[in-house]
C-alpha cells in the first residue's frame, strides 16, 4: 500500500511539476518581479497564445486585381478563337486582344471581307463566346466582353480568391483567422484578421504568391540533341523570325536556381539565366494539379528540396497522351512564368512529376502549399494594415473573466461545503486539471479562443461531475454498510466505469470535430479533448491517490471519512 502510494506520488510529480513550470514559469531568467501578481499575469499572457477574439491581431485589407483575371480570360479566349479559325481554314490575317479603359475585346482581321459572315457564325460553335457580344465591320470582327459578364466573372474571381486564401491561411496553421469581403461588392476587397503570427511578412507573401504551374512543350530538336536554349531573350525571339506568334512564348529558364520561394519569385534572379521558346497553350495547366509536396532531392543534401506533384485524372489523361506521342521531346515545368526544369521524355508519363530547383526546405514547403491551394485567379495587393484589439472587445473579456472567477469560486465553495474534506480533493483535482490543460495547449502551440473557452467550460463541468459521481458513489457504498476503505475502493471502481463512458463518448465525438471541422469548431474540440484527458488523470488517478494517502495515514481501521 505504502509503496504504491509512493509510486503514484512520483508519477504525479513527474507530470505536474513540468506542467506547472510550462504554465507559470517565465521563459527568461526569473527575477523577483516574476513572483508578484503582475509578473505572474505577464508570464501567463506570454505563455498562452490567445486568439483574435481574445487578444486581437493584424487587420489586413486586400484588393483583388480582377482586371488581371479578365485580361487573362481575354487572352485565352483569343487563342481559342485563333485556333478555331485556323482549324476551320478561314483566311485570317490577325487576331489580337484589345484591352483598354475597362473594355476587353478580341479583334479578328480577315483577309477577305466576304468571309466575315461565315467566320462570325462558325467560331462561336467551337469557342464559348456566350459572354461576348460580336460586331463586324469591313474585314474585322470584334468580340467585346459584356459588362454584365465582366461583373459576374469578377465576382467569381473574388469567390475563388476568397476560397484559396482561406485554404492558405488555414494550412499555414494560423489559428481561427477571420476572412470576409470588404466594401461594396464592386470594390473586390477582402479583409483578413489573424491573431499574432511570428512572421507577418512571410504570411503576406504567401497569400500573394501566384504559384501558377504549367507543363509545356519546349521547342527544341529532340533528344539526344541537347535542349535548345538561348543566351538572351532577343536571340530567342530572333529564332522565331523576329516576333512571337501567339502559340509560342519566350520564357526565362533558370537552370540550377538558388533558393527561391514562391513568394519572392523573380526577386533573386540567377546569374546563369537562359531563355527558351515554348509552345502555347500548355500541355497541362495548374488547375489539373491534384497534389504537391516537398521532398528531398534524391541523393541531395537537406537543403536540396524538390516538389513532387501529381495530376487529376483529366490532366493525367491529357498528359499521358501527349507524353506518349512525344517521346524524346523536351518538356518544361513552368512556375510563375519561369521555366524551372526541362527534361526529355523517356517514355509515357501519366500522372506525376517533379520540379527541381534547389529549393530550401521552407521554400519548397511554402511552394507546395500554394500549389495545392491552387493559383490565385488574380493578383492581390494590400491596401491597409492595422493591428487591432480583441474582436470581442476588451471590456467584454474583462467581464467574462470576472464572471468565470465568480463561477469557479461558487463551485469551490459548494464542493468544500457539501463534501467537506473530500471537497478539498475535488478542488485540487480541478485546479490540476486546468494546469495540465493549459500546459498541453502550450506544448501544442494551440491558440485559445472563445470556442476553446467553451471547451474548457465543458471540461470543468465534466470534471466537477466526475468528482460528484465518485463522492456520491462512495456515500452510497457507505450507506450500504461498507467499511470506509472498501467504500472508497468500490466507489472509485463503479464511478470509473461511468466516467470512462462519458469521457470516451465526448472524446470520440470531439475527434470528429477536430479532424473534419475548421475554425471555431476545431478550437472547441482541441481544448475539450485535452481537458478530458487531463481530467481522467486528475479526477481519477490523483484524487484516488489522495484518498489512499489519507486512509493510509489514519491506519487500517478508519471509522469515518469526511465526505
Amino acid at each position: 500500500m505504502k509503496k504504491s502510494i509512493l509510486q503514484r506520488a512520483i508519477i504525479i510529480a513527474i507530470i505536474t511539476i513540468p506542467a506547472l513550470y510550462l504554465v507559470v514559469g517565465p521563459r527568461h531568467r526569473p527575477t523577483l518581479h516574476d513572483f508578484t501578481y503582475a509578473g505572474l499575469k505577464q508570464t501567463l499572457a506570454e505563455n498562452i497564445h490567445l486568439g483574435l477574439d481574445l487578444r486581437g491581431g493584424s487587420y489586413l485589407v486586400m484588393q483583388i486585381q480582377t482586371d488581371d483575371y479578365l485580361k487573362e480570360l481575354t487572352t485565352n479566349t483569343m487563342q481559342g478563337v485563333q485556333k478555331a479559325a485556323q482549324d476551320a481554314g478561314f483566311p485570317v490575317k490577325d487576331v489580337h486582344p484589345d484591352i483598354s479603359n475597362g473594355n476587353y475585346r478580341i479583334v479578328l482581321e480577315a483577309n477577305d471581307a466576304s468571309k466575315i459572315g461565315d467566320i462570325q457564325s462558325a467560331i462561336p460553335k467551337k469557342v464559348d463566346l456566350n459572354d461576348w457580344s460580336a460586331s463586324a465591320s469591313g474585314n474585322t470582327i470584334t468580340w467585346s466582353l459584356t459588362s454584365a459578364a465582366q461583373r459576374t466573372l469578377s465576382d467569381q474571381a473574388v469567390t475563388q480568391e476568397y476560397n484559396i486564401i482561406y485554404n492558405r491561411i488555414n494550412s499555414l496553421g494560423v489559428a481561427e483567422p477571420e476572412l470576409a469581403t470588404h466594401g461594396a461588392q464592386s470594390s473586390h476587397q477582402l479583409v483578413l484578421q489573424m491573431p499574432g503570427v511570428d512572421d507577418p511578412q512571410r504570411v503576406k507573401e504567401l497569400l500573394q504568391a501566384q504559384s501558377k504551374l504549367d507543363l509545356v512543350h519546349v521547342v527544341s530538336p529532340p533528344n539526344p540533341a541537347p535542349v535548345q536554349t538561348y543566351a538572351t531573350k532577343e536571340e530567342a525571339i530572333a529564332s522565331l523570325g523576329g516576333n512571337v506568334p501567339s502559340n509560342r512564348e519566350v520564357l526565362a529558364y533558370a537552370e540550377r536556381e538558388e533558393a527561391t520561394t514562391a513568394a519572392t519569385q523573380g526577386a533573386n534572379k540567377n546569374k546563369e539565366k537562359r531563355w527558351v521558346v515554348v509552345e502555347m497553350p500548355p500541355v497541362v495547366g495548374g488547375s489539373e494539379l491534384r497534389d504537391a509536396k516537398a521532398v528531398t532531392a534524391f541523393g541531395g543534401t537537406s537543403d536540396n528540396y524538390q516538389i513532387s506533384f501529381s495530376l487529376k485524372p483529366g490532366g493525367a489523361e491529357k498528359f499521358g497522351a501527349w507524353t506518349g506521342a512525344n517521346v524524346n521531346q523536351y518538356m518544361g515545368v513552368v512556375l510563375n512564368e519561369e521555366v524551372k526544369s526541362i527534361a526529355f521524355i523517356k517514355s509515357q508519363i501519366t500522372d506525376s512529376g517533379q520540379i527541381d530547383g534547389r529549393f530550401t526546405k521552407q521554400s519548397a514547403e511554402d511552394l507546395a502549399m500554394t500549389l495545392r491551394s491552387g493559383a490565385l485567379p488574380a493578383r492581390l495587393t494590400y491596401l491597409e494594415e492595422r493591428t487591432v484589439g480583441p474582436s470581442l472587445g476588451a471590456d467584454s473579456i474583462r467581464a467574462g473573466v470576472t464572471a468565470s472567477v465568480v463561477g469557479f469560486l461558487l463551485v469551490v465553495f459548494f464542493m468544500l461545503f457539501y463534501y467537506r474534506g473530500s471537497g478539498v480533493n475535488a478542488v485540487v483535482a480541478l485546479l490540476l486539471n486546468l494546469i495540465l490543460l493549459m500546459a498541453a495547449l502550450i506544448i501544442l502551440k494551440a491558440t485559445l479562443t472563445l470556442p476553446g473557452i467553451a471547451g474548457i467550460i465543458l471540461t470543468i463541468g465534466m470534471a466537477v461531475d466526475s468528482n460528484v459521481l465518485i463522492f456520491e458513489r462512495i456515500r452510497e457504498e457507505l450507506h450500504s454498510g461498507k467499511t470506509v476503505p472498501s467504500a472508497v475502493e468500490v466507489g472509485f471502481a463503479r464511478a470509473f466505469v461511468t466516467i470512462i463512458d462519458t469521457h470516451v463518448t465526448t472524446i470520440v465525438s470531439s475527434l470528429f470535430l477536430y479532424l473534419f471541422g475548421t475554425g471555431p469548431v476545431r478550437g472547441f474540440a482541441v481544448t475539450l479533448v485535452l481537458g478530458l484527458l487531463a481530467n481522467l488523470f486528475s479526477a481519477v488517478y490523483v484524487s484516488r491517490t489522495i484518498f489512499m494517502w489519507h486512509l493510509n495515514r489514519r491506519g487500517q481501521h478508519v471509522e469515518s471519512i469526511s465526505i
Binding site: 486581437g56 487587420y59 477571420e178 469581403t181 470588404h182 461588392q185 479583409v191 492595422r386 493591428t387 487591432v388 484589439g389 474582436s391 472587445g393 471590456d395 467584454s396 474583462r398 467581464a399 467574462g400 464572471a403 468565470s404 465568480v406 463561477g407 461558487l410 459548494f414 457539501y418 470556442p451 467553451a454 471547451g455 467550460i457 465543458l458 470543468i460 463541468g461 465534466m462 466537477v464 461531475d465 459521481l469 456520491e472 452510497e476 457504498e477 450507506h479 450500504s480 454498510g481 461498507k482 468500490v490 463503479r494 466505469v497 461511468t498 462519458t502 463518448t505 465526448t506 470520440v508 465525438s509 475527434l511 470535430l513 473534419f516 471541422g517 475548421t518 471555431p520 469548431v521 472547441f524
Partner: protein, 348 residues
C-alpha cells in the same frame, strides 16, 4: 454529512407523456416562431455579423471614451449587438461593427444599410460632446466571416460527431440507447434554437460554441443515467426495465442535481457578470444546461425504455404502466429501495 436526497422514489416514467408533450410543444413553438419570422422577414433567426455581414465604421477620437460608454451611447440610438474593437497601433481609433439590420441574407453591401449605420453612429457619437472630438473616418460594408460554406460544413461535422456518439453508445450499451441519447441531443439543440428564434436573440459564432458545449453536456448527463441502468439491469435481473430505469434515475438524482446545479450556478454568474457581448453565449449555455439535464430524464430514458420494450418484450412483465396510461404507478417490489441496491452490489 449533508445530503440532498434520501431514498427518493419518484416514478419518473409515469410522467413520460407529459414530458414528451411539453417538449413537443416547446419545439413546435420554436418552429412556429421560425416559420413566422421567415414568412414576415425572411429570417427565421437573428443571425449576427459573423453570419450575415454588416458595416464596419472606423472612428477617430481626440479623447477615446471607454468601450462601455461607446456601447451605451449606441444602444441609446437603438443600435444593439455592436462589436467595439480597438485599433492598437493607432490608439485614437476604434472600429465599430454593426450587424446587418435589413432582412434577407447576403446583401451586406446595400448602400442604405451603410448609410443607416453611419447616421446612427454619428448620432450616438454626438452625445459625447465636442471635447471627445469623434469623427468617422471610414464606413465600409463587410461580408460574413462564416459564410454559407463554413456554416454547412460546421453542421455536417456536428452531425458526423453525433453519429460517432451513436456508434460508441451502441457499442457500449445497445443501439437503442445510442439513438435515444442522440434524439435527446437533437431535442436540446432544437429547443435552444427555438427559444433564440422566439426572443429574436442574436446567433453568432459564440452561440455556436455554446451549442457544441450543450451537446457535450447533454450526452454526458444521459450516459450517467444509462450507465446506472446498465449496472442495475445486471444486478436485478427480475425487475422490469421500467422499474430499473426509474430506480436508476432516482439513484443518480443527487448527482444530477449537484452537477447540473453547479453548472447552472457558474453559467448564471456568466449571464449576470459576463457583459453584453457574451450574453447570448451565456444564455445559450443556460438554456442548454437546463434542457440537457431535463432531456436525459424526460426524453432519453422514456424513448429508450419504449424502444427496448418493443424489441425485447420479455424484459417487460409490467403491463400496468403501459395499460393505464401515464398515471398508474409501477407496483414496487420489496427490493426496490436505494439501500438494497447498494447491499446487493456489495454482496456480488
Amino acid at each position: 454529512m449533508i445530503q440532498l436526497f434520501k431514498n427518493v422514489n419518484i416514478d419518473w416514467l409515469a410522467n413520460r407523456r407529459l414530458f414528451i408533450t411539453v417538449s413537443v410543444l416547446l419545439m413546435l413553438a420554436g418552429l412556429a416562431s421560425a416559420v413566422i419570422r421567415f414568412a414576415v422577414r425572411s429570417d427565421p433567426f437573428n443571425l449576427g455579423i459573423d453570419f450575415k455581414g454588416g458595416t464596419v465604421i472606423t472612428v477617430q477620437f481626440k479623447q477615446r471614451p471607454s468601450d462601455d460608454d461607446i456601447r451605451r451611447a449606441l444602444q441609446q440610438q437603438g443600435v444593439r449587438d455592436a462589436i467595439i474593437q480597438r485599433v492598437t497601433d493607432r490608439s485614437d481609433e476604434v472600429l465599430i461593427r454593426l450587424p446587418q439590420t435589413a432582412p434577407g441574407s447576403g446583401n451586406a453591401e446595400d448602400q442604405s444599410e451603410v448609410n443607416a449605420g453611419r447616421s446612427n453612429v454619428t448620432k450616438a457619437l454626438a452625445t459625447f460632446g465636442p471635447q471627445v472630438g469623434a469623427s468617422i473616418i471610414g464606413v465600409e460594408a463587410v461580408g460574413p466571416v462564416a459564410g454559407a460554406a463554413l456554416r454547412n460544413q460546421a453542421i455536417a461535422v456536428t452531425l458526423l460527431a453525433l453519429v460517432g456518439i451513436l456508434v460508441y453508445i451502441a457499442f457500449r450499451f445497445e443501439w437503442t440507447y445510442g439513438a435515444a441519447a442522440v434524439i435527446a441531443v437533437f431535442h436540446d439543440v432544437l429547443v435552444t434554437l427555438g427559444i433564440f428564434s422566439i426572443f429574436h436573440w442574436e446567433i453568432n459564432l459564440t452561440v455556436i460554441a455554446a451549442l457544441l458545449t450543450l451537446v457535450g453536456f447533454s450526452v454526458n448527463d444521459t450516459i450517467v443515467v444509462f450507465d446506472r441502468i446498465r449496472e442495475n439491469l445486471r444486478l436485478h435481473r427480475r425487475d422490469s426495465l421500467y422499474k430499473v430505469t426509474n430506480d436508476s434515475i432516482n439513484q443518480t438524482l443527487s448527482r444530477t442535481v449537484i452537477t447540473s446545479g453547479l453548472a447552472l450556478l457558474s453559467v448564471v454568474a456568466l449571464v449576470v457578470f459576463g457583459g453584453e457581448v457574451l450574453r447570448y453565449f451565456s444564455l445559450a449555455l443556460l438554456i442548454g444546461i437546463i434542457f440537457g439535464t431535463y432531456s436525459s430524464v424526460a426524453i432519453a430514458s422514456p424513448i429508450m425504455v419504449w424502444w427496448q420494450q418493443r424489441l425485447e418484450p420479455s424484459r417487460t412483465p409490467a403491463g400496468p404502466a403501459r395499460r393505464s396510461g401515464g398515471t398508474a404507478r409501477e407496483p414496487r417490489s420489496a427490493s426496490s429501495n436505494v439501500r438494497r441496491t447498494g447491499a446487493n452490489a456489495a454482496a456480488r
